[in-house]
Amino acid sequence: MVGKKGIEMQFHWIFILIAGAVILAFFFSLVAKQKSLSEEKLSITLSSNMEAVFSGAIESKGTAQPLPIPKDGMEFSCSESCVCDFRIGNKATSFRDKIIFAPSLIEGQDALAWSNEWKLPFRVTNFLYVTNPNVKYYVVYVPGTQGERMFDRINKTLPPGLNIAVLKDPDVSGIPYEGFQETKFVFLDIPDSEVDLEALDSDFRKKQVSGVDIHQNTITFYEKLPKELVFTSASSPFVGEPLIFAAMFSADKQMYDCGLKEAFFKLNHVAKIIYGRAKLIQKNMSITKPECTYRLDDFEILIERSAMLSADVEFSQSISDVIGAANAIERENKNAILLSCPEIF
């Protein structure tokens, strides 16, 4: 009798164990699913909020604003086909129409976002620069050269809160690694032959280090191979000061080139609209103010060359043609102001 009761008790406990395990498994699966769902929801919410913040920041030119960064950080990247996005958790959000230059990873401290207008000679677009104090910038120039003047100019525009040190000698061999997440050297008007990042201290070998050299209308990007103190270099053109900042804050050459292509694409559109406007003004003023005639041939060059450059940013005559046309349009606009005629742009 006792044996039978014992067996009954055993079955009872086995039943309770199985039922308990099922209940526990149910709750665990529910919690795991809920966790992944809320993480995904959080990254989606953060990404769209961040996109809204970027949209706002890009319009408020010249002002730097701190941006709280999610604890896992934020990644920025551009693919070879110029699909650019920022990533929070598993959620990647496209830059869409925004032109953003930022390090590949921002984490730890709040980011700093500021924007700058790109004019050629009319406002084409605003660039958004994002960085944070975890990136150390070394600006290198030789006193008394064009580099110093360049530094004086850009130093007036750079927002406070960045980690910037000035070096007045292109020799970087004595620079110690200071524990920053990323170190970037910005050479101003230093000939390529004098840039030697491979002479850096061996402590930099496994760290994230890069450099840019702004010299004679070109920007040379120096990118380090992983775990080696060996750098590859490649050049891109630049037009205007905002693109110096773009090179300085870009994660790599790819991000810079993609931003530049997008900028030329926008230039093409804006130039078409302003060209059309100038023709309309001319037509309307031909009777009332016949002296208000504009030379508009340069718009055609600007439109044609910007279309070419938006497809492929390369070293060619196109860049100098664009600069020449922009300067000519600016002169023509000044003439219009002097003659009390409506401005071209």
């Binding site: 809204a52 129409d97 009319f122 003004i281």
Partner: protein, 165 residues
Amino acid sequence: MKRKAQIKMFETMGVLVIFFFLLVGGAAFYFQVQKSSLQQDIRKQEQLAAFQVVQKALFLPELDCSFVSIQKDNCFDKFKLMNLSSYLSDPENEDFLIDYFNIFGFSDISIYQVYPVNNSFSYTLYKNIPKDYSSIISTQSPVLLFDTINKRYDFGVIEVDVYAE
């Protein structure tokens, strides 16, 4: 004795059934609450997106009013507006419309003059309405319209309808 054990077993089963019944009920209630909070979030995001479209339209370099390179906020140059509108509505310039999709998405943006009254100055800047949409978020904003020829600012309204799929 066997009967007693069977009753006990049924009791336990009954408790389990009620437990699971309550559990399913609770879960259904929880998921319903979650669903409505998610819908609220989606609506909030849609409103945020609509606000961004308005903001982008107001700051478009293609339309800004500037004098000696100084821009005026919330102002559109009439000639630039006429030009961009004709580019975006011309079927031959479909590429142009596609390019602006990145900026305005599915929306309908129109601008018209309200003072001095001028019914002929009414332009649809951009129009791309999806076949199926769940809601429309409409925004109206006062703007200045710069008349380059007469060097005069008129008052206008920008109407933005953003379509959520």
